[in-house]
Subunit: 444 residues, 2 copies
């Protein structure tokens, strides 16, 4: 796990070690821009971050590999001894998983000897970028479904098997009711859903025979797939064979028209309780259209578009040095490259709410500032001196918290089209500090 | 690993088991449409597929989980006993990893008892879809670089840590010269590259001090990052401090203009051998522009756009039933849902070459057909009765083979803009068979 990182994290660590740089530094993880069409970020991935930070170790084989790699030619044995004994000893602060944040706001803050803080960068980003991206996407899809369930169905199109698992987790935080991924059920206790595939129907000479074989095993309220050959005929056969199907799934074709025909067939057969489940290349826009026109659909399965965040598949989260400790004094740091400016830190998010509990706007300030009136600071300490200092909520609790966060967003921020992100103001102290640091760099 | 699948693979398996369906089936994995702007697919992921197929096991904990899950209410103990003893006993055929294929051509064929073949679906797709997507994308970026090296740099934006590793592998097959991912160096023997990050520069009061500290450890031909504050000044300082930098990296700004200025500074200092490495939100189009205008860039680092295949992040590979065995006779199967028609199988790809070794076109036929004149069949048996029957080439060999495959593409198929995919014809036998099966379904 410790080698799952960019080479430069390790060469920088070696340079810090050899130069005896043992001072602490503050790094902050944040996202500069929203995914396309989004005006908020639903944060996810924090629990894996903490697991990683607390368990990061270099085993003998890894150290052997590094020691013998030409990139470490000038590095002394001391560094490899350091790696062998590596334990994270610093502090981690973060907004609780499932919190809504806005562009440039810190999601995680690491305060640790610079070498330790540096080594975490790549892995932290790969965890938080992906899960935050998918949780945000899921929350949009779930909103489009207007209270109908959304099941994450995308394992086969995820970027590998681990991405499938992480996507299932993030999608659940984002409000999905479950996943098709069995491992996510086993490891993360997420509800799992499934029906049958077209191949099962195609294995038999007739659709009827396939339904009969399936219902012989799954007798009670079976779930039937009805679109292998013809949806109307498939539904009629499902009604005859399935007795009381729990739901029928339509995976192709004009799902508005088909769902209405299927509903009619079910109702005429007295199967008012049988639900209609629809899937096949769905996304928030298609679902919004279906719900807008009142398609009688009870649940949606969303795969590809959700687990790859297909319309904008890369969240540009970054992890930046914002302060270093010099003789027990924290010295702020900024980057001034064009288009890549950063704010100094450590920072805190102070959130304001309206009387009815909606987010009315954030104020970003320095961590040691007194919270502005009627604001709540969002970042909390979760690791102290290398030890966890809080209990993680269950995934179900995180999901409920995330849903309440989305509910608290101003309507304008969560519109599926033409959203507007809430303004984030800077405190006087933070903006003056940033201005003076930029000016100093431009002068030098 | 066995639970990293969709629930319906397991419920279908249970239904097959309980109905005593022990016959063999043929499934084929193929891709219906190209990634945006591509006219070929560079296949990757096969080695992981074979590892998975040969090692798929259900441990006690997994079986305990399934047995107690409500989804398996009607399933008997026999099925769980079957899972406990599960070993793949079938055959796998595939085109060699790194082979170029076209839309709808089979990449992998599984011939096995239907229950076994079904259980592989989700995991196979998640491996092959992602790696083929990234290898294809990498091959386009590498071509745009016109012989200059491309290094995969995207771990932090990949869809989780495993996606980062798989992306590094696929990008290397696609022609990248290496990766920043250390684990890919350790596990897969891929060359690893790195410099320093902006944070390292920012840790010190001046860029000069940062360079000095770095060069104290990495004395011989250090790699320097010159754009933290000002590229021209940074390069001058790097020249003074670094003595003979192996390369300087520019990560932001107008990289055409900056690379020319930097080249001039280096040349004037007699550092003709110091290379210029450029990174920062690059893709095949930006690289093509830079090389077209003769920017003096020696190598490119490409991250986000490569590892997420940002412009089209989901390869729509599918795994379909194409034949089942009935009383020792293979019966072809097709799916006829609108827009989701499949061809019957098992199929073979017969490839034709021009006299100078270019691919002149493919003919898709049935596996038992005699290869049409002057064609080479591409699919080979790689697993027989559950045992591997070929040695995998090294990753370096696969990469060289893939590069030769891209070279063999018609120029029209590998144009970065307005590419045209080669025509794939069907043999008379395959097209007649498909037509008769479609007609039969429409009649019934």
């Amino acid at each position: 796990m410790a080698l799952a990182t960019d080479l430069y994290e390790l060469t920088m660590a070696a340079a810090y070690f050899e130069n005896n740089e043992r001072h602490r530094a503050v790094f902050e993880l944040f996202v500069r821009t929203y995914p396309r069409g989004s005006c908020y970020l639903l944060t996810a991935g924090l629990e894996q971050v903490v697991q990683y930070v607390l368990n990061m170790r270099f085993d003998d084989e890894s150290i052997h590999f590094l020691r013998n790699h030409q990139a470490f030619g000038g590095v002394t044995d001391g560094f490899f001894e350091y790696l062998r004994k590596f334990r994270f000893t610093g502090d981690v602060f973060a907004v609780p998983e499932g919190t809504v944040v806005f562009a440039n706001e810190p999601i995680i803050r690491v305060v640790a000897p610079i070498l330790e803080a540096q080594l975490l960068e790549t892995y932290l980003l790969s965890l938080v970028n992906f899960q935050t991206l998918i949780a945000t996407k899921a929350s949009k899809i779930v909103r489009a479904a207007k209270g109908k369930g959304v099941v994450e169905f995308g394992s086969r199109r995820a970027h590998g098997p681990q991405a499938a698992l992480l996507a299932a987790r993030a999608a659940y935080i984002g409000g999905c009711i479950g996943t098709s991924n069995v491992l996510a059920g086993h490891e993360l206790d997420i509800p799992i859903y499934g029906t049958i595939a077209h191949s099962f129907i195609m294995n038999y000479d007739t659709e009827r025979e396939a339904f009969e074989k399936f219902c012989k095993v799954f007798r009670t309220e079976p779930a039937m797939l009805v679109d292998t050959y013809d949806v109307v005929q498939g539904t009629k056969t499902a009604v005859e064979v399935g007795k009381r199907p729990s739901f029928v799934r339509i995976d192709s074709g004009d799902r508005y028209r088909l769902s209405r025909r299927v509903r009619k067939i079910l109702d005429e057969a007295g199967l008012q309780r049988t639900k209609i489940f629809v899937s096949g290349d769905l996304n928030e826009r298609k679902i919004a259209q279906l719900t807008l026109h009142g398609a009688p659909i009870d649940a949606f399965g969303v795969g590809t578009e959700l687990v790859t965040a297909r319309d904008d598949p890369a969240l540009q989260g970054i992890y930046k040095l914002v302060a270093i400790e010099r003789n027990d004094i924290w010295v702020p740091r900024v980057k001034t490259s064009p288009g890549k400016q950063t704010l100094p830190g450590p920072r805190q998010i102070f959130r304001k709410f309206t009387t009815n509990g909606k987010i009315s706007g954030d104020i970003m300030g320095l961590a040691d500032e007194k919270p502005p009136q009627e604001t709540v600071p969002l970042m909390q300490r979760i690791v102290e001196s290398g030890n966890p200092v809080c209990q993680f909520p269950s995934l179900g609790e995180t999901r409920r918290y995330a849903l309440s966060q989305i509910d608290a967003l101003p309507t304008s921020a969560r519109k599926l089209q033409g959203c507007v992100a809430p303004k984030v103001r800077l405190t006087q102290k933070l903006s003056s500090l940033a201005a003076s640091l930029y000016a100093r760099h431009h002068a030098s």
